[in-house]
Amino acid sequence: MNPTPTNDYFADIGFWPKGTGVRHYIIGLILALVLTIIPFALLEIHLTSKHETFTHPFLMAVAVVCALLQFLVQVAFFLHLIGRGVSRERLAIFGGASLVVAILVGGSLWIMTDLSARMIAPPSDSQMELYMQDQGGF
């Protein structure tokens, strides 16, 4: 990677950007903690107020957005996928894997929710139900 090795072995092998220090990890830790506490605190407020403070879609949206933001924070500050001098190949394979994950999770949910929507139980006044009530079974 680097033709002239420096005193920073991890920067030389393209593991983290040059100049990475404890400041980097502290910022990552604080941001991750904040993004964990926000959805948790909102949920606790919601539960103590007997489900009246927020709507469920709002809570879900906050939880998902915070998780995605924290994901980006950890990818940048802990996994060191982004930054000057960091190996680009890792970011490329990460992009490819993310695509597979999106297709796998999104596709499964799409197909399976569509499938269950088509499999609604027959209404209770269906001919079969009426026949069964009338005859005491088949």
Binding site: Y9, F10, L29, H56, A63, A67, F71, S108
Partner: protein
């Protein structure tokens, strides 16, 4: 600090890439388990729902402990760069203890559920829950074994090039598991209580 030859640096750079490729295949494994969980979440089959069995403060405690261990794992790399092997061993020991506490908490939750008759055989929801969270826990246990072996090696041989490389790979593994846990915390525990 030792200066390494450019070809040694290039070889270690490839190791990091190769290990990262393995982590991405592991990511696909977890994606499949997450998709399974999301699909089977409502399949309770008369058993308890996610809202009845999950405890948000307990999941938060597990999250904070794992995040703290991720941070101390990062500190071990910073100590390794300074050539401070005692600092590396100390921060790896802290990481190990926090990781072990996490595993104990997770196992105690599994034991609590199993003791109240809520095992993986009760419903599709519980099968997928135990598989997803259990697979993550198994990875953490493997990480703890690896950390112990690397700690012994660093204690015996010091911060050799091989140990430096393994420390970088271990930190990738450990941070990766923390990232997977964020999604378990959000998708399994938080949304399991919200929905």
């Amino acid at each position: 600090m030792t200066q390494y030859k450019p070809e040694e640096i290039a070889a270690d750079s490839k190791s990091v890439f190769g290990f990262f490729t393995y982590l991405m295949t592991d990511l696909v494994l977890f994606a499949a388990l997450f998709a399974t969980y999301a699909v089977l979440h409502s399949g309770v089959f008369g058993g308890p729902t996610s809202e009845e069995i999950f405890n948000a403060p307990f999941a938060l405690l597990e999250t904070v402990i794992l995040l703290a261990s991720s941070f101390s794992c990062g500190l071990s790399l910073l100590a390794a760069r300074r050539g401070n092997s005692r600092g590396v061993l100390a921060s790896l020991a802290i990481t190990f203890v926090l990781g072990a506490v996490f595993v104990v908490l997770e196992l105690s939750e599994f034991a609590r559920l199993a003791a109240s008759g809520v095992g993986p055989g009760v419903s599709a929801f519980l099968s997928s829950y135990f598989t997803l969270v259990g697979t993550h826990g198994l990875h953490i246990i493997i990480g703890l074994v690896w950390m112990t072996a690397l700690g012994i090696s660093i204690y015996a041989r010091g911060l050799t090039r091989g140990n430096m490389r393994k420390l970088a790979l271990l930190s990738l593994f450990w941070h990766f598991l923390d990232i997977i846990w964020i999604f378990i915390f959000t998708i399994v525990y938080l949304s399991g209580i919200i929905l």
